[in-house]
Each structure stands twice: as C-alpha cells, then as structure tokens.
C-alpha cells in the first residue's frame, strides 16, 4: 500500500509513557490520527481541545497534515513557572547554564 504512512502518537506521563504506532492514509491530519489511535480512550484526562500538540518537539496546529514517520506528541502544561524557577535559582546563587555550547 503506497497511500498509507506510518506514524506514532505519544502521550507521556513521568512514570508511564504510551507510544502507539499506526498506519494512516496520506492526507490524515494530526487531530484525526489522534482520534483514530484510541489514546483518548486510554487517557480520559486528555482534553484534546485545549492540549497543545506537536510533532517531534515542534508545536503544530491540530489540522496539520501528517507526513511519513511523524511522531505526534500530546503535551501537558508546565507545573513550575519558569520565571519563578529562574528567580529562585538566582537567589540561591546558582548560575543558569546556557546549555548546548561548544562541548
């Protein structure tokens, strides 16, 4: 079948991550694929209307058309407030690393 593409749908909790592999037709959107994957039945707490979605770490809109080997990720909001964390670290005298770098 040439008009099917392989994709994955991921919903990750700290202690349990679900990664579903499936075949969808070419032209399927992210939202359709999530509904077809059945991950919403598995995790009723996912509110697909408000959840942010992405493909491999890039935020995307639910009507994005999928490509071969895409991994759809359903995100959860942050718990910590980034500003608060940074301020606290500054108070404790810890330096913020930029990360990446030449190393």
């Amino acid at each position: 079948m040439t008009d099917m593409i392989a994709i994955e749908v991921v919903y990750a909790l700290p202690d349990k991550q679900t990664l579903l592999r499936q075949q969808v037709a070419v032209g399927t959107t992210v939202l359709d694929a999530i509904q077809a994957s059945g991950i919403l039945n598995k995790y009723p707490e996912i509110d697909i209307a408000t959840s942010k979605l992405g493909i491999f770490g890039k935020l995307i809109k639910p009507d994005t058309v999928l490509r071969e080997k895409d991994r759809i990720e359903i995100y959860r909001p942050l718990i910590a407030d980034p500003k608060e964390v940074r301020r606290k670290r500054a108070e404790e005298g810890k330096v913020m690393k930029k990360g990446g770098g030449d190393a």
Partner: protein, 191 residues
C-alpha cells in the same frame, strides 16, 4: 588462424563487458567493514567513545585509529563481537570506561521550565516536549546516554536506575574460563 584470433577477441570482449557491467551494477557503497562494525555497535549515539556517534567510531575502528574497548553501552559482549569481527584479541574496558548499571533519564516536573535544550541534546528523540510544554522522557526509547543531563539549565534531569524485574530480566551471558593451551598438547595435536 584468423578464426582462433576472432574467437579469442570475442571471448575477451564478452568477459570485459561482463566485468564492466558488474562493476557498475554491484558497486559496493562505502567500506563494508565500517558497516559491519556499525552493526555491532549499540546505536545509542551517546558519544562515550569520544566520537560523535556510532558510525564515526566504526570508521575510526576500521581505520585502526580507535580501540575496540571504548563503547560502554555495548558491554563486554560488544567488545567480544568486535574482537571476533576484526580478528583481534579481546580487550577489557579501560580506566573509567566500564559500563554503568542500566539507567534512564528522569525529569523532575516541579522544576522543568520547558526550554527544549534537552530535546536538542537527545540523540534518539526519547524526550517528548516542546517550547513551554512539559518535557517527558519516553523511558522505552531512552538509551541512558546522559547527554541531556548537562544542558538542562535548571538541573531537573536525573538518571534513574532501572530495577531488574520479571519484565526486563534476562539470562546473563555465559562466561567461559579461557585457559591457555599448553605446548605439549599442541605438539600432540600437530603430530
């Protein structure tokens, strides 16, 4: 006389054509030894060998620049396979290169600020997350390479040991005690 010459020329032309055709048709891409070494390596792309990934390490081994005992994720079994493949002696892990217990990265959700730096560092896409969204390690994909620990600006990634249980227990690799063959025994065999 003429017939014999023509036959010989005909044969050489035919064989030449076959050789030329097969050179194009069955062209070997790259160095096959590198491919074989790469197949033995665990593909964690962790860089613990000092090379940017498994393929560069394989190339270095093939060229003879690197030792075969620099891959902790591959374990002793990996060194043995490489030694077999290359026909060299088994070499134990060097100082500080011994494999650690199997662990996966774990993100402390209370401090993660969604900066995506760990995502960029992960060589195997084992972290689900995007800018300003919670990042989560997909444990089944994580190779335990620790490359994500360093870039985190808030130090929220720690390595968690994988406890051995029924689902991931496996038979230990057999350990054979190798005793050197004594010379008399060899002589008896040879005679």
């Amino acid at each position: 006389m003429i017939t014999a010459l023509l036959v010989m020329i005909g044969i050489s032309l035919a064989l030449g054509a076959v050789l030329g055709f097969s050179a194009i048709k069955f062209k070997v891409e790259g160095n096959p030894l590198v491919e074989k070494i790469d197949a033995v390596l665990p593909q964690t792309q962790c860089g613990q060998c000092g090379y940017p990934g498994c393929k560069p390490y394989a190339e270095a081994i093939a060229k003879g620049e690197a030792d075969i005992n620099k891959c902790p994720p591959g374990g002793e079994e990996g060194i043995r396979k490489l030694a077999d493949l290359l026909g060299v002696d088994y070499k134990p892990f060097g100082e500080g290169a011994a494999p650690k217990a199997k662990a996966v990265a774990f993100i402390d959700e209370q401090t993660c600020i969604g900066c995506t730096l760990c995502l960029q560092a992960c060589p195997v896409d084992a972290i689900a997350g995007a800018a300003k969204q919670m990042h989560t390690i997909i444990a089944s994909e994580c190779t335990g390479c620790e490359l994500c620990v360093e870039p985190c600006p808030v130090d929220c990634i720690s390595m968690k040991l994988i406890p051995e249980d029924i689902s991931n227990w496996k038979w230990p690799y057999p350990v054979y005690a190798l005793t050197p063959v004594r010379n008399e025994a060899r002589k008896v065999e040879a005679s």
